[in-house]
Symmetry: C2
Subunit: 348 residues, 2 copies
C-alpha cells in the first residue's frame, strides 16, 4: 500500500450515462470511458478508495436513467457521470477508522474500476468469506435482504399461506421463493423462459411455476396454480401480471411491491384494476430495503446458515469485465440473465 | 297491520336494470316498472316485509351494472331484476323475532316501494330518532361507518397528520374530513365545483379545498396545499388524482382505498405510477365496510354525539320519489349531487 499512499495514478475505466433514456435502455445509452485516478484520499477526510470487484445489475437502475420532475427515492443518473449501485469492493486506501486497506466491503460504489467514496456510510464489512464474494451482491446483499424484509416484514407471510412470486428466477425472486418454502408456504413463481421455470421447480424447490410468455391468459394461469387464491404476492413486475393477481387474491391478501420491471420502460404506466383492492381488503405496500438495514446482521447470519446447510441456493449470471456491464444491465429488460446478474470487474 | 296479514295486494314500483351498462350509465339503462306485491311473509320464515322510505345512491353501484368474469365482492345486478342497496325502511310484516311491524330499519333493501327481505341479516334497528331518518343512509349509515373505519382502522390517521380527501363533498368524503379535523389533522379536500369547494371550506371546516376541474396540474395543486407532503389519502376517485397523490405522499404514507369513481365507467383502468409506492414505502389498502360492522354501535353512538353537539354536520341531496331514482344514480357520475344523494321513496 506504500506506493498508493504516494499517489500512484491508475487507469480507471468507467461506465457513464451518455444520455437520458426513453423506452427500453440500449447499450448505446451508456459508454465505457477510460480515465485516470490518483490513488489517494483527501487528508483528514473519512473517505475510502476502493477497487471494485463485483457490480450488481438491478432493474431499478433503469428508473434512474430518466430525469424525474418529482424526485424519486434515489437521485437520477446524470449524463456524462459514472453510474453507481451496490457492489463488492476491496479497500485500497482509507481515511475512515472502521476500514483499512485490504478490507472487503459491500455497499454503494461506482460503475468503474476504482471509486473514491467520500463518506462510506453505506459500506459494510463482508463477514462470511466462505462464500463467493459475489454473493454479497445477491443472496447476502441487497437482493437477499429485500426478499427477507419484503416477505416477512411487509407481506407478513405465514406458514400454510399461498405465495406467488413474479420474476421468480431473478435475484430477489429466487430468494423469496426459497424463504417462503422454508416458512411452510405453498409457492408458485412466474418467469420468462422454460429454462427459468425449470430452475424454479428443480433447483429452487417451488411447488409450481409457469412461463408467463406462453400463457394466453394470466388470470387462467393463476387460477390453475391457485384454485383457492393467493395470500401473498411478491410483486416484481407490475402491469398485466399485477392486474391478474389482484383478481386472484384472497380476502386480506398482501402485495409487497418490490419492483415493477415491466413498467420502467413505458412512458405511461399500464392500467391496473385497483378497485380490486377494495373487494378483498387487499393491502399493497411498497418498500425500500434501506428501511431494513438495521436488520441486516440478523439476516446475514440467518442466510449464511441456510447457505451452509444447503437450504438456500443461488444462481448467478456473471458478466466478465467492466466493458460487459452496459450489455448486462440492458439484458435484464429482455430477461437474458438467468439468476442474479453480476459484473465481475476484477477478481480479488 | 291486520289488513296486511290478510295478504292485501299493493302496487309496487321498482327500478330494474334494463341492460348491462358499458361506459357512463344512463337513465335508459334502468326502467321503473309497476308491479304488485301481496303483503305477506312466507309462514315460518324469518322474512320481513318492509316499506322503503329512503334509498341510498352510491357510486359503487355502477360496478354492479357490468357483468364480471371474475366475481366482485357483491353480485352483479341482473337485467330484468330490481336493483338493491342500502336504505331506510319500515317493517310492515315480520317473521323474524327481532323485528315487529312499525320498526324502522336501515340495511340492504330493494330499489322499490316494498321489499320482501327473506333473511334480514343486514338489517339494523334505527336507534336515534332525533335525527332525520335519511341520516341512516349517510352519516349514521354505511357512508359514515366507511369514513370512520377507513380513516381510523385502515389509514390510522393521527393528530397532526396531513390528510387529503377526494370527492370530499360526497357522502363519505364530507364525514372523513370532519372526523380528521376532530382528530387534529390538517385536512384538504378536492371536489368538482366551486360550490362544493365552498361547502368544504365553510360548512365542513376543511383547512383548504380545490376544484380539480379547474386545476391544470393536479400535482401542482397538491404541492400547493401540502408543501410537506401527504400522510393519509382517503381515496374515492382513482386515475389521475391517485397518480398525482402518489407523487406527493410522505414516507410511510397510507392510502385507504374506498372507491374509484373516475374508473367505473372505463373499459380499461387508467395507468397509475404504482412504483411510487416503493420509494416512499406507501401502504395502499382497500377495505369494505362489511369488515367493520362489528364496530357499528360504537360508531353510531360516537357519531350521534358529534351530531348532537354540532361537531359533525351533513349535507344531503334528496331526490323525491322512486321515479327519480335512476337519474339520481346517474347524476353521481356527472357530480350533479351536492352531498349525500338519497331518494325519498316515501315519508314515514
Amino acid at each position: 500500500m506504500a506506493a498508493a499512499v504516494g499517489g500512484e495514478e491508475v487507469t480507471n475505466r468507467q461506465v457513464i450515462l451518455k444520455r437520458y433514456v426513453t423506452g427500453c435502455p440500449m447499450v448505446e445509452d451508456m459508454e465505457v470511458v477510460t480515465g485516470t485516478l490518483r490513488l489517494a484520499v483527501p487528508p483528514g477526510s473519512p473517505a475510502v478508495l476502493v477497487k471494485n470487484l463485483y457490480l450488481s445489475c438491478d432493474p431499478y437502475m433503469r428508473t434512474r436513467m430518466t430525469r424525474h420532475a418529482v424526485p424519486s427515492f434515489v437521485p437520477d443518473y446524470v449524463p456524462g457521470k459514472v453510474l453507481d449501485n451496490c457492489g463488492v469492493s476491496k479497500v485500497v486506501l482509507s481515511g475512515h477508522p472502521d476500514f483499512k486497506p485490504g478490507d472487503l466491503l459491500w455497499g454503494v460504489t461506482g460503475w468503474e474500476e476504482y471509486t473514491l467514496i467520500p463518506n462510506p456510510v453505506f459500506c459494510h464489512m463482508i463477514n462470511h468469506r466462505e462464500f463467493p464474494l459475489s454473493y454479497y451482491t445477491g443472496v447476502l446483499g441487497v437482493p437477499g435482504l429485500t426478499a427477507y424484509a419484503g416477505l416477512f416484514e411487509v407481506a407478513k407471510a405465514k406458514k400454510g399461506e399461498c405465495v406467488f412470486v413474479s420474476a421468480a428466477a431473478g435475484a430477489v425472486g429466487q430468494i423469496v421463493g426459497q424463504l417462503a418454502k422454508l416458512t411452510g408456504c405453498y409457492v408458485v413463481g412466474s418467469a420468462g423462459s422454460d429454462q427459468k421455470v425449470n430452475l424454479l421447480k428443480t433447483k429452487f424447490g417451488f411447488n409450481d411455476a409457469f412461463n408467463y410468455k406462453k400463457e394466453l391468459d394470466l388470470n387462467a394461469a393463476l387460477k390453475r396454480c391457485f384454485p383457492h387464491g393467493i395470500d401473498v404476492y411478491f410483486e416484481n413486475v407490475g402491469g398485466a401480471m399485477l392486474d391478474a393477481v389482484l383478481h386472484n387474491m384472497r380476502h386480506r391478501g398482501r402485495v409487497a411491491v418490490c419492483g415493477q420491471v415491466s413498467q420502467y420502460n413505458l412512458e405511461w404506466p399500464d392500467g391496473v384494476d385497483l378497485f380490486r383492492l377494495v373487494g378483498n381488503h387487499i393491502r399493497m405496500e411498497g418498500f425500500l430495503v434501506s428501511d431494513y438495514l438495521g436488520e441486516y446482521h440478523r439476516f446475514e447470519e440467518e442466510m449464511a446458515r441456510y447457505l451452509n446447510e444447503g437450504k438456500v441456493v443461488c444462481v448467478e449470471d456473471v458478466a466478465e469485465g467492466i466493458e460487459a456491464a452496459p450489455a448486462a444491465l440492458v439484458g435484464l429488460f429482455a430477461g437474458r440473465n438467468v439468476g442474479k446478474q453480476v459484473v465481475a470487474v476484477a477478481r480479488e
